[in-house]
Amino acid sequence: MSAKPYGLIATFDTTPSVYHAAEQVRDAGYKNWDCITPFPIHGLDKAMGLKRSNVPKFSLCGGLLGFTTGMSLIFYTSYINYPLVVGGKPYFSPLFAFPVSYELTILFTAFATIGGMFFLNGLPMHYHPVLKSDKILSGMDDKFHIVIESADPKFNLALTKALLEKAGGKDIQELEA
């Protein structure tokens, strides 16, 4: 095993125990850590001290970009590049550019949302040190885990281990980097 582990993994048997342990880890000020649960636990994000997702910011930028693209596309093609009178209408009006802009707003928002989601969560991830642990299979079945990474500024092998033990974690193991 290398000198510095990837982190520590602790096992919990019940949903409330992992929920309250998460609150303790949060209150201890850790940042680089995560919970592994076989199903979504409502309220766990708050117990972990997670803020609301930043994906909507990507969505907003995508939407604005889509709207401007639609408007400029119609403006460029029908006013600058090839002005043509159609149905006695002006060369450019935001009215007939609106359906296109509206569609592109939705399309670009959808792209930005999905792209932003992948950018922020780092998926697809083909390897993660946690997969080396034999514990992880139970975390996909009937057990709950908390993983604290050694990359966390507050990480200290002995102290972090003590915290996890105090929080009710069992079978605490070091993860290979």
């Binding site: 409502h42 309220g43 708050k46 609301r52 909507p56 907003l60 149905g87 006695g88």
Partner: protein, 425 residues
């Protein structure tokens, strides 16, 4: 207000809520508004006051229709998050018989005198600007089997009858379930919703066409019923938020209403803001694009004077574009604005105000001078519109508050109530 109502089941009140002593106050305000509107008859022309009254009645009827449609939509989709909100809507539905009563003066006025006080097509001898009478107008003759006094009266009666009947069924099933907890009431409501949604869609379109659109009977728009529906739902959701927050502030809904309920209802308000814009824009865009005089005149009346100058109505139209769509759209994008009480209260009040402006924009230009020019937006008639809104609104809230103590605060035996109380993202 906690995000998680983990302890909410302990907070379910078992006794019926206390009635509000303010019910009679609301009735007083309503009567005062009605009296002031009647005084208006001696100050302004009868036609102006009648149109203002039409705005007042159709505004609150829109909100009641929106509540009816939302209750049925929630039943048909088996929605669980909205159970607490649904109960407030069910109380609001108690206003329908009173709205029918308040609409009656308009029908009586149509049957008396020259019949054309409000809807000019009711009088075949009404002389149009081109010198012909309504009775000789081909556009009227083609539509006369639909647009006549008997049909108008029958359809208005039918609409109110349908709304009152659907409301009575929905209220009875929901209130009875509070007492016995029988699941059959849930199924009964689902069946009522299944056919009631179709009935509601048809009747609200008929109401919008007869009451508002036919003020300019030359005009064509297939979007009109949908436009009215969009305003109905936006108004109902806005009043629903105000009701929930008032009850929360009074303490009734403490431990019951959580931020996720407000987030969900905020998202619905946002969705219907976009829906309203989609429908209203489509109506304008198709007419603008096709450029057919029978359709464009409706917007021309609301934009330029005979001299070709921009009229006040043009700026009202701009206010509707930016105030009824763009501002609420941008405001409601933010999560914080949907869950902070003061902010959501502000935006729903703003939306209600804009619905009134939208109705004024659709109704009031029917009031014209001798040259066929709509009277300006800024006039004494705004005062009669305000007194009408207050008058009908007072009666509306009085009916709501009178229904409020009749049953439990929330549907405690609804099979979805636990899911609602623990509503999460």
């Amino acid at each position: 207000m906690s995000t998680h109502a983990a302890t909410a089941s302990a907070a379910i009140p078992s006794e019926t809520p206390s009635s509000c002593a303010c019910a009679s106050k609301f009735l007083g305000v309503g009567i005062a508004g009605i009296v002031l509107t009647i005084i208006g008859l001696f100050v302004s022309s009868g036609k102006a006051v009648a149109l203002s009254w039409l705005i007042g009645v159709s505004f609150w009827t829109a909100i009641a229709i929106g509540m009816l449609m939302l209750v049925m939509i929630h039943h048909i989709l088996d929605a669980s998050w909205s159970v607490v909100l649904r109960r407030q809507f069910e109380h609001g539905l108690a206003a329908f018989p009173w709205l029918a009563l308040l609409f009656t003066p308009l029908v009586i006025v149509s049957w008396t005198g020259s019949h054309d006080t409000i809807w000019k097509w009711m009088n075949p001898d009404y002389v149009l600007l081109n010198g012909h009478t309504v009775g000789h107008d081909p556009l009227y003759i083609k539509k006369s089997s639909f647009l006549n006094l008997e049909m108008f009266t029958a359809m208005t009666a039918l609409c109110f009858a349908a709304w009152i009947w659907l409301s009575a069924r929905l209220r009875k099933a929901s209130f009875s379930q509070d007492a016995d907890g029988d699941l059959k009431w849930t199924f009964m409501n689902r069946k009522t919703a299944a056919f009631g949604l179709a009935v509601g869609a048809i009747t609200l379109s008929l109401a919008a066409i007869y009451w508002i659109k036919s003020l300019e009977y030359h005009w064509f728009s297939t979007m009109y019923g949908v436009w009215y529906f969009a305003n109905c739902v936006r108004g109902a959701l806005a009043i629903g938020v105000l009701m929930l927050l008032a009850l929360y502030k009074r303490g009734d809904l403490k431990g019951i209403l959580n931020t996720n309920h407000l987030h969900s209802v905020g998202m619905l308000i946002f969705a219907f803001t976009v829906f309203w814009a989609y429908v209203t824009f489509s109506q304008y865009f198709l007419i603008w694009n096709a450029n057919v005089p029978e359709e464009t005149f409706w917007y021309n009346l609301r934009e330029i004077t005979r001299a070709g100058e921009p009229s006040q109505w043009k700026y009202v139209g701009m206010l509707i574009l930016f105030g009824h769509f763009l501002f609420p759209f941008l405001f409601l994008l933010s999560y914080k604005n949907k869950i902070t009480h003061s902010r959501i209260t502000f935006i729903v009040r703003w939306i209600l105000l804009m619905i009134v402006v939208d109705l004024i924009y659709n109704v009031a230009p029917a009031l014209k001078d001798s040259l066929g020019e709509p009277l300006p937006f800024l006039s004494l008639n705004l005062l009669w519109t305000a007194t009408s809104i207050i008058g009908v609104g007072g009666v509306f809230f009085w009916a709501y508050l009178k229904s409020f103590p009749k049953t439990k605060l929330i549907p405690i035996r609804d099979p979805r109530i636990t899911e609602c109380l623990t509503h999460h993202e």
